[in-house]
Symmetry: C2
Subunit: 472 residues, 2 copies
């Protein structure tokens, strides 16, 4: 009879669950993950990796086309079949053999099936064949079941069998036309990818575009999408969706668009509706509310990490939370001291005001920390400065006609950086410098000594600092 | 009669002189720059900008060729004529009209001619037509005359009229074959550029390659150059050079190589041999020795900045010194307080142990701070960790078959990062995160909260930290 008692039981084998288990096992605990789909989760098969793979080839091609000397060598167009094949290789053709092997090597057990909490420290797993196993946790249960696309309550939408991020990132064919509902990161990335494939893309957003970011981010992306040939409708309400032999017809106040497919990218819903939360007094379908050690409020044995917490719906933040949670569960189990003050080893402090995010569009959007608006709303004494990235020598060498904008948001009281946003081609790798500055609370007067190498695009730092002024 | 008295006289209108003047003028001083060649200096016309322009197109093309989907669209090869034409545009065809206009707008006067210090606070300028003007400084004279290529004492070399970095970066034709003497950054970059143009390149280094960097940097570059088709001879002494109708013949211990041109890239010599240093008791031809406010030791009115100080022979460090020097000259002239403690506003502290540098080869080398060896030599209690960049998801999406290495050097006593080196394709923009960490002295336990965005190459940070271990 297999083991059914573990120090730690984790629901969900996505990047968050895997990292949480790994840290706990490294801390001396036994751990099992319950997974009903593919080990590796959303990010590996239906989100970050396939979407980045769908976008990268076009990005590299456009980069070459924007530099004389290289541009002349590019005579063809994007090979969409090759892009899809490369995407398939990054998702291992939706096989989780490699990840299962990794789990095995990491000393983490796997139970396939649907896990539901049935009592304190108890999870009952229903296997694909219908048999059930009751697992018992000596110390903790952690929920890392993630999120799924929200299907908004629009007349006819669900019946029209819309694409979500899953179908868009895993498609084996490229539709001739695509309507995308939403104005967030998924909408922006998939509009960029499919427009690059030659699909006639229409994006319909109820409000603006990339609304949580600095306003110029959405503006530059919308401009770029339109230049790519996409139609972008802002502040537009979708009233009805109908599928027929002609495709999917999307109706808004005033117009009707018919396309081969419709992609819903209007937000995320926590996958907590059927994991037994009612058995322990929580409400199924709700986000899980944790403290900074990822302990679910009101419990001493229940943790949650990743999207399901609604702290920051990003793979890297889920993994970050997982490291803190795995370590703290191990520490508490061993009766060791817990470092739970701000920026301690057992907390996910950065979730609050130091979250980095990259939108892999063209131009890219890379941001960390607070926007000017968010910083003011949080009560900071704020001064923000902007600078055009295209004026940087490194950017002008990088690509002819480079256009982009950067903003630095400064806390005037402490003279530290609260947030930075870069929008421009190939800015994603510029972000870490900003993240270290924000998280490290490095004072502005010290940042003046962090000299950017010439001629790189990072010289944007010098220009932002010059624009801000040097404290003496 | 034109003004001949200024608060500040600067010798040399390179990036360093320009920035020094700009800061001083912003601080309320009057300033004049004396320049005998082009305003903008070495970096604008014969170094950083043209060399980067010569390298960028091939880099962009190789990036596209390394990603299926894009690779299929590349059917041609690098258009060398287009690369040279683009390089010409970045050097404004060696016209300084634009920079002269900038100086004018910045309120900086320009005197064309050869400037020599003829007494304390006095500079005599010999104009191209032979007339002389005596300039007087109320507060300070700053030397920013830079450096030139060293021509080593090799039998026949000078008579063979070798190329230096100037001829290599400004060439209008691509030689069929080229011998490069040296194993530093200029040798590495020019070998990469010309090998990419189809030139048969032979590099001869007296010792190793990129010897001041982490050992794997030179190893990876040599390997890449050889893969590009270049011949690289290490630990090889050049004994004789002869120019004949057949080209230039370079003899070493044991072999003889004939090529169309020979490029000398064996180091730099300060341009202080003919600026009147003898008139104030200094030795012509020597590097200038300054304190951290860039004041030349033994003087209260003489400053030096940029290559000429031998602090760090890099444009961005010269500009960094220039900012400190321009500000401190203005502050001292006004009798204002001077911030000359470590990391103060008036010192170039980063020159000592926090210098960033990028070598724009393929792969690129980006480093900041101390190498493992240098840190040990400086007496630190050091632990270094390495990680293969190719194992990062972001790198694998960036390019098929990505290969690279990163090293983080940690001060075990203070638990801060002393240095970081990245070697791999397109790593240059990763550097600023490391520079902020080193300069900001951000503790390792805080760096764990500086989450790299997934999937970017910056996730190398997470792997370096995991390899190092998490302090609790």
């Amino acid at each position: 009879m297999p083991t059914t008692e573990y120090d730690l039981i984790i629901l969900g084998a996505g990047a968050t669950g895997e990292n949480l288990a790994e840290r706990a096992v490294q801390g001396g605990l036994t751990a099992v993950i319950v997974e009903n789909e593919l080990v590796g989760g959303e990010c590996s098969y239906w989100a970050c990796m396939p979407s980045k793979a769908l976008l990268r080839s076009a990005q590299a091609l456009r980069a070459a086309q924007s530099v004389p000397g290289a541009a002349e060598a590019v005579t063809g167009t994007l090979d969409v079949a090759a892009v899809l094949a490369r995407r398939d290789s990054f998702t291992s053709n939706w096989s989780d053999d490699g990840q299962v092997k990794w789990m095995d090597g990491a000393g983490i057990d796997l139970v396939r099936g649907h896990g539901r909490i049935t009592a304190a420290k108890q999870v009952t797993v229903t296997a694909p064949d219908g048999t059930t196993t009751v697992l018992t946790a000596r110390h903790a249960v952690a929920v890392a079941t993630g999120s799924r696309a929200t299907i908004p309550n629009i007349d006819g939408l669900r019946a029209a069998a819309p694409w979500t991020s899953r179908e868009a990132t895993s498609t084996q064919t490229v539709p001739a036309s695509l309507v995308i509902l939403g104005g967030g990161v998924v909408a922006a990335e998939m509009a960029t990818a499919f427009a690059g494939f030659g699909t006639a893309v229409t994006v319909i957003s109820r409000s603006g575009f990339l609304g949580n970011m600095e306003p110029f981010a959405g503006e530059l992306i919308v401009k770029a999408l339109r230049k790519q040939g996409a139609t972008v409708l802002l502040d537009t309400k979708t009233t009805k969706v109908t599928r027929s032999d002609a495709g999917v017809t999307v109706e808004t106040d005033g117009q009707s668009i018919t396309a081969e497919e419709v992609l819903v990218a209007t937000g995320r819903t926590p996958r907590t509706d059927d994991i037994g939360l009612d058995s322990i007094g929580l409400t199924p379908g709700e986000w899980m509310n944790t403290d900074d050690t990822l302990l679910v409020r009101g419990f001493d044995w229940l943790y949650a990490a990743g999207d399901v917490t609604h702290r920051a719906l990003l793979t890297h933040q889920g993994k970050y939370q997982a490291r803190a949670a795995g370590d703290v569960i191990a520490a508490r189990a061993a009766g060791e001291p817990v470092s739970d003050g701000p920026w301690g080893a057992h907390v996910a402090t950065a979730d609050h005001e130091a979250v980095p995010q990259v939108t892999f569009t063209e131009p890219e959007v890379a941001s960390v920390g607070l926007t000017d608006k968010a910083a003011r709303a949080a009560g900071y004494d704020v001064r923000s400065v902007d600078y055009k990235i295209g004026h940087i020598a490194g950017a002008s060498v990088h690509a002819d006609g480079y256009r982009g904008t950067a903003r630095m948001v400064v806390d005037e009281k402490r003279k530290v950086v609260l947030g930075v946003t870069f929008v421009g081609p190939d800015v994603s790798e510029l972000l870490q410098g900003a993240t270290v500055a924000v998280v490290g609370e490095v004072p502005i007067d010290r940042l003046w000594h962090a000299v950017p190498a010439y001629p790189t695009m990072n010289e944007i730092w010098l220009r932002l600092l010059e624009t801000y002024g040097r404290p003496t």
